[in-house]
């Protein structure tokens, strides 16, 4: 049975660029780090049958997502020689051009940071129970499905 408290990954609304700068600045005192890898998901203004996406509204089965994220995180730390990893995903409405996902991994060397970042992104996209409602400019909507 997992006893550790799962890390929080959800934030309300879009992730501001300043949060990313803050996360980077927080790691400048960790002088064993040589490489950071960052992935950002941004909302695209996709056009679907003549309608243009203006925002995605995210919901999640939060407790389950946090527990699964905790397992992903444990696996990542056992697979990759990383010093730290931070993941944030939006809940609620995120407008086109805004950021909904922020994955940040750090390591002494580039290879591990990059591989761990990719691992998190793939696992988050496929394993976390997060749901997205694509809202069009005309207020209609459809449900997003990851490919």
């Amino acid at each position: 049975m997992e006893k550790k408290k799962p890390k929080k990954i959800f934030v309300q609304g879009a992730i501001p660029p300043e949060k990313i700068a803050g996360a980077i600045a927080n790691h400048q005192s960790k002088t064993n780090i040589g490489a950071h890898s960052i992935f950002l998901g941004q909302i695209r203004a996709d056009e679907i049958e003549g309608r243009t996406v203006s925002a995605i509204e995210y919901t999640a089965y939060e407790e389950m997502a946090e527990n699964i994220y905790h397992e992903i995180r444990e696996t990542a730390f056992s697979k990759f020689n990383i010093t730290c990893a931070h993941v944030y995903h939006s809940l609620g409405k995120v407008k086109t051009g805004e950021l909904c996902l922020f994955v940040f991994t750090s390591s002494a060397h580039r290879k591990m940071a990059i591989e761990a970042c990719n691992y998190f992104v793939e696992e988050i996209k496929t394993k976390l129970p997060i749901f997205g409602k694509e809202i069009f400019e005309d207020e209609t909507h459809q449900w997003k499905v990851n490919k």
Binding site: T59, I130, G132, K133, W143, V145, N146
Partner: protein, 78 residues
């Protein structure tokens, strides 16, 4: 037995609610519970719907009184 059911995304939209407590008779299987709710709420594309019992996607479990069963449409994080 009482089952706490949660609905997400397009399923919550179809059901018109995000959760409810179902009083079930005769120890139905998870598959029977799914079929029942799919019909009741006309949930589309049911083969794309995953069920999680107490946050676990393993569906080889028998339902127990007090279980939390979540109806999960396709994941769309990121």
């Amino acid at each position: 037995m009482n089952i706490n059911v949660k609905y997400f995304g397009m399923i919550a939209e179809a059901a018109g609610k995000t959760e409810e407590v179902l009083e079930l008779e005769g120890n139905p299987s998870l598959g029977e519970l799914k079929d029942r709710q799919v019909k009741k709420y006309a949930i589309k594309d049911p083969q794309s719907v995953q069920l999680a019992v107490n946050q676990n996607l393993n569906t080889q479990v028998e339902l127990q009184d007090g279980d939390e069963v979540a109806f999960l449409p396709p994941f769309a994080g990121g």
